[in-house]
């Protein structure tokens, strides 16, 4: 008898407890000021630096979280309305634009810095200091797999020695970008090379073999300059010059280091910006402090006039993407600015 009466009561108590647990926090979270950011791991160090400075400035009254789901993963969440800001190492794609439109998500596209890829070789490599995009394509396209294995197969003047290849892991934005810029189709690459998401592994690999060639972000190359040599890249479609161009900040800004430099973006959710003052405050702080922080984390800042234009675009809350779903490879910063002012 006692058991029968205690049963339902225990159930009711635990249900009430459960309801309390569910309802309580939802209420609390709504009151919390959290700016949610996710996306590209390439952009992550920049946003992390801004978030760190912002939080110390605002003395922790506004919270910022940053994840690294990748540019694609970030846009997926962004277009579902789960994020305030999406970090992106490429412009938003057509499918993503459509997905955002379907869910009524409007956004402001803000270029924040340059990223450049660097093709690196061993310090003792005396022959491949200059390469053309065509030569890189011959080496990296899927058809090269198992066939192009020696340096003299790319250029007869080069040694009859086996090439050790190192490159980005297939989930990274770097991989997507390099394949699109060099091979002509994103994610289209030979597979018989040492792939790693960890740039350290790539540096060590190229450092350890005289016949090695690899590629990764220029930020990483600049901090490991003493260990590796960089390849100057010539591109027959380059509007600035047909000569080999060295990977450095100047050449990235003046647009001549094509096609291996690209702009990086943040996409700000317009509704978050309008309805939540903390998001606006953070985005403003981002643009005000971006230049010095970009340099500190070893990326290439945009020219000053570009930042002025970007800030104007933010103030106007101009939505949409200037790329219309296309890529940004080989596009000069001046061109992006022109498109922005029209």
């Amino acid at each position: 008898m006692t058991r029968m009466s205690s049963g339902p009561r225990t159930w009711l108590t635990s249900l009430a407890l459960l309801a309390g647990v569910m309802a309580g926090p939802a209420h609390a979270v709504a009151q919390d000021k959290v700016v949610k950011i996710d996306g590209s791991s390439t952009v992550y160090p920049i946003t992390e630096a801004v978030a760190e400075e912002f939080q110390s400035e605002s003395k922790g009254s506004i919270k910022v979280t940053v994840g690294i789901s990748g540019t694609g993963g970030g846009f997926k969440k962004f277009c579902r309305g789960e994020l305030d800001i999406s970090n992106a190492s490429r412009p938003i794609k057509k499918e993503e634009i459509e997905e955002c439109a379907k869910n009524g998500i409007e956004y402001i596209e803000l270029p924040i810095a340059f990223d450049a890829l660097t093709v690196v070789i061993n310090k003792q490599n005396t022959w491949a200091a200059n390469m053309t995009v065509a030569e890189l394509k011959k080496l990296w396209e899927p058809e090269a797999q198992g066939k192009i294995t020696k340096w003299n197969q790319i250029n007869p003047a080069w040694p009859d020695a086996k090439i050790d290849l190192f490159g980005a892991g297939t989930d990274s934005g770097t991989f997507e970008y390099f394949t699109e810029a060099v091979v002509g189709k994103a994610k289209s690459s030979r597979g018989d090379y040492t792939a790693s998401e960890d740039d350290n592994t790539l540096v060590k690999g190229v450092e350890g073999s005289r016949n090695a060639l690899g590629y990764f972000g220029m930020a990483y190359y600049l901090t490991h300059k003493d260990k590796l040599a960089a390849v100057s890249v010539a591109w027959d479609k380059n509007k600035a010059t047909k000569d080999p161009v060295a990977p450095n900040a100047e050449n990235v800004i003046n647009g001549s280091y094509a096609p291996l430099s690209r702009p990086l973006f943040i996409y700000v959710n317009k509704k978050s910006l309008e309805t939540r003052p903390e998001v606006k405050q953070f985005a403003k702080f981002y643009l005000d402090n971006i230049k010095s922080l970009v340099e500190e984390v070893n990326y290439v800042p945009l020219p000053d006039e570009a930042y002025t234009a970007v800030r104007a675009r933010f103030e106007k809350q101009q939505t949409g993407s200037v790329f219309g779903g296309e890529g940004a490879i080989g596009v000069k910063i001046e061109d992006i600015l022109k498109r922005e002012t029209k």
Binding site: G20, A26, V29, E48, G60, T65, A219
Partner: protein, 314 residues
């Protein structure tokens, strides 16, 4: 006679050989483990200080710390332990002591055994679909704790059943003969006798859970997070009018975003380091904290086992 001698001698020789082989392999295994741990300790211990334990992540390696990571790990494990352990033990007891043996319990049994071998990323995908999107629990400590709970549930169930099976049948029969009900048999006899074995299984499971990264990344654990989950009954942030809006509920922290030690460690290992801004010692230090957590759990298990062993005699 001569033949018998030879057979015995050969038997002894093989015995000695196997002994040497076994000892060598054990030494090799322990050496590898020892070298790895020693390397981690050498790289990590100099980095561990008050600053490291009480600071948030930073772009400057010397200023960065593991506060949000170790608190996150601890809280996620708390949720995991408080869901998976009672559920697992209860399920184990039911299957072993109460359930009738038929095709249905057989099916459950096979499934539990198989679940113990499912890769952890699968649990992450399941949790993303079910907990994050279906139940709208968000990318929270609760979701993470439950995900790891699912992950270790089969291990806890299997360990519980094995420990119960190890109790001699006559213990149950003796208790029933004295008129004990099933619940009394479980509570007064079976649970105390099997506590040592269950504790060991639970700890192995928890040690596995604490090192998991993949399922947590899948459900959306963060990388940069510079605040702690709200403590129970701490004041809410003041509104725009400056009025005090009250305080957090006792369980508000379970809905908070989070990161955990293995993720923080990975972020530090994989990010570019430059001379004077080297993140490798940070990663090693986070590894040391993780090892300390795991050893702490193991110590707790050994303590429980020893205490129980002293009490139980049959």
């Amino acid at each position: 006679m001569h033949d018998l001698d030879r057979i015995i001698r050969r038997g002894r020789r093989n015995d000695r050989l196997f002994n040497v082989l076994g000892a060598t392999l054990a030494v090799v295994c322990l050496t590898v483990l020892g070298v790895l741990v020693a390397q981690l300790l050498i790289a990590g211990i100099p980095r561990i200080d008050w600053q490291f334990l009480t600071s948030f992540p930073s772009r400057k390696a010397a200023r960065a710390g593991a506060l949000s990571a170790w608190v996150g790990s601890l809280l996620v494990m708390l949720i995991t332990a408080s869901t998976a352990i009672p559920l697992g033990i209860a399920a184990g007891i039911y299957l072993e002591e109460y359930a009738r043996k038929n095709w249905f319990t057989n099916l459950i049994e096979i499934n539990i055994a198989n679940l113990a071998g499912v890769p952890s990323i699968i649990y992450g995908l399941m949790a993303l679909g079910l907990l994050v999107y279906q139940f709208r629990l968000g990318q929270s400590i609760l979701t993470a704790g439950l995900t790891l709970g699912f992950l270790i549930l089969p291990v806890v169930i299997v360990a519980t059943r094995e420990s119960l099976r190890a109790i001699p049948q006559y213990m149950r029969e003796a208790a029933y003969a004295l008129g004990a009900t099933r619940l009394q048999v479980v509570r007064h006899h079976l649970l105390p006798y099997s506590a040592g074995g269950i504790a060991t299984g639970v700890i192995i499971a928890m040690s596995r859970a604490i090192g998991e990264t993949a399922p947590l990344v899948t459900i959306g654990a963060l990388t940069y997070i510079a605040f702690l989950p709200p403590a129970p009954f701490s004041p809410l942030p003041a509104g725009p009018d400056g009025a005090s809006p009250g305080m957090y509920g006792p369980f508000a922290w379970i809905m908070s975003p989070f990161t955990v030690l293995p993720i923080q460690m990975f972020a530090w290992v994989s990010r570019p380091s430059s001379p004077g801004n080297d993140f490798a010692p940070n990663a090693a230090a986070a590894g040391v904290i993780l090892i300390v957590f795991t050893l702490g759990l193991n110590a707790a298990a050994i303590f429980v086992r020893q205490r129980v062993r002293r009490r139980v005699k049959w």
